[in-house]
């Protein structure tokens, strides 16, 4: 397998496999948020603020995987 196809494979796999985790994490955050809102609709501002915060932290991990993939595609 030559270097060019290896690089393409690495680019795709870095993004694809790396984004599985954050996608699962964001789904779990959504589940927890909706459950909490269902139990206690009055706490809506607090729940939503924390949801946005934790969602951004999780999404950042996905962005790291994307950056690795972009580096492989463009700089390597």
């Amino acid at each position: 397998m030559d270097a060019e196809s290896m690089k393409m494979l690495a680019t795709g796999m870095a993004a694809g496999l790396g984004l599985l985790g954050p996608a699962l994490g964001l789904g779990l955050i959504g589940y927890a948020t909706v459950t909490a809102l269902g139990r206690n609709p009055e706490a809506r501002p607090a729940i939503l603020t924390n949801m946005i915060l934790v969602a951004a932290l999780t999404e950042a991990v996905g962005i790291y995987a994307l950056i690795v993939s972009i580096i492989l595609a463009m700089v390597a």
Binding site: P45, T49, I52, L53, A56, L57, E59, A60, I63, Y64, L66, I67, I70, I71, M74, V75
Partner: protein
């Protein structure tokens, strides 16, 4: 047509314009060229690409090494942001009244929303202390993100640069692969030389040869064979420059530590991360004869030290996560917009513009919000659990 109501007429006109733009974009863009639809030359959309990835393109000087100073297009964009924000602030504070009108009212609403957000997370007292830095970060990031969506940012306005192209090896030319004035990609072969060697382009742009090279010419190493003309855009979103996001991250983390030091005293703050108290008490108990309790205390002491070290390390990774979160989101958005514009111009980019508006706002909120949250955690650990030795 005259019996339809005015909103319906406007809707029909807008729909027709969108359909026409869609057809024109389809024909002239990349999809049309792939489907091989014949179209006149003026409809063709040129290749849109991101020239340099982590940093902005150098507009004056060169970016040869780490010590070189140059003005990049992202730097110019951040100056534009500063000028716009200062202009809004100036316009809002001229002739201020108690009951605000128009621009002053709008700016007051925005600032008050921001203040409520900061105080909601950090509490009243700390919120007021944190507000200047956090609001600056938020306003800077969001204006950078939104100004980049204007049409004059990006590959439309470009600053032509010419770089000399040197031959990487010497030899006799077997074949000339590109014409004068053609567009080359990075890594594309310009000359094939005798002996299985090749001269490649180190950058993408239009190449103009110094003189006409034919088969059989000898070229020497490091001889200038051509001039490469690149067209980097004149303005580019400042958030796509890792230097800018890294600087903002350093400022945010510096202020988090500063607030922690100021609120709790340097010694008390550091003692949370260099937590040798339990370990020292355990070793002291060993020497003072309480052999039974000593191993347990030493064990928990070691665990405390390691945990404190890991927490201190997490302060350092905050810099990296701040920088790369903002950079990654903004660069991915820029590449997405360029690709959508390249595929079907005008129409396909519309939903992605909406996405970019949302992402810009959320990223600014996250940067500011995480600064507040970590600042609050650093500055207000008043109630501590002291383990009684």
């Amino acid at each position: 047509m005259s019996r339809l109501s005015r909103p319906t007429r406007i809707l029909i006109i807008v729909a027709v314009v969108i359909v026409i733009l869609f057809i024109v974009g389809l024909i002239g863009g990349a999809v049309g060229r792939a489907l091989e639809i014949d179209s006149p030359g003026f409809l063709h959309v040129p290749v849109l690409e991101v020239h340099s990835f982590f940093k902005g393109d150098a507009l004056t000087g060169s970016e040869a090494g780490p010590g070189d100073a140059y003005i990049s297009n992202t730097m110019i964009a951040s100056w534009i942001t500063v000028i716009v924000v200062l202009a809004i602030a100036f316009a809002a504070t001229r002739k201020m009244r108690i009951v605000p009108r128009r621009i002053q009212g709008l700016v007051e609403v925005m600032l008050e929303t921001l203040l409520n957000f900061v105080e909601g997370v950090a509490g009243r007292h700390l919120g007021r202390k944190f507000f200047p830095v956090v609001a600056t970060i938020f306003i800077f990031v969001i204006f950078n993100a939104y100004l980049a969506l204007l049409p004059f940012f990006g590959p439309g306005i470009y600053a032509s640069q010419e770089h000399p192209v040197e031959a990487s090896t010497d030899g006799v030319i077997i074949s000339v692969e590109v014409e004068d004035g053609a567009h080359v990609e990075e890594g594309q072969v310009i000359f094939y030389l005798e002996g299985d060697k090749a001269v490649e382009a180190h950058d993408s742009g239009h190449i103009h040869f110094d003189k006409t090279y034919t088969v059989g010419d000898t070229i020497a190493q490091h001889e200038q064979i051509a001039v490469m003309e690149t067209k980097p855009p004149l303005f580019r979103s400042a958030n796509t420059d890792i230097n800018m996001t890294l600087a903002l991250a350093l400022v945010a983390v510096f202020f988090i530590e500063f607030w922690g030091f100021r609120a709790r005293g340097p010694r008390h703050y550091i003692s949370e991360y260099a937590n040798f108290g339990e370990l020292k008490a355990g070793i002291g108990a060993l020497f003072r004869g309480k052999i039974k309790e000593a191993p347990m205390m030493i064990l928990t002491g070691i665990i405390n030290v390691v945990m404190g070290g890991l927490e201190a390390l997490s302060h350092g990774t905050r810099v990296i996560s701040f920088a790369f979160r903002l950079f990654g989101n903004m660069t991915a958005g820029e590449i997405l917009l360029l690709s959508a514009t390249f595929l079907i111009p005008w129409i396909m980019a519309i939903p992605f513009y909406g996405l970019e508006l949302l992402v810009g706002f959320i990223q600014a909120l996250i940067f500011g919000g995480l600064t507040i949250v970590w600042g609050t955690m650093a500055a207000s650990h008043e109630a501590e659990e002291h383990q009684q030795a």
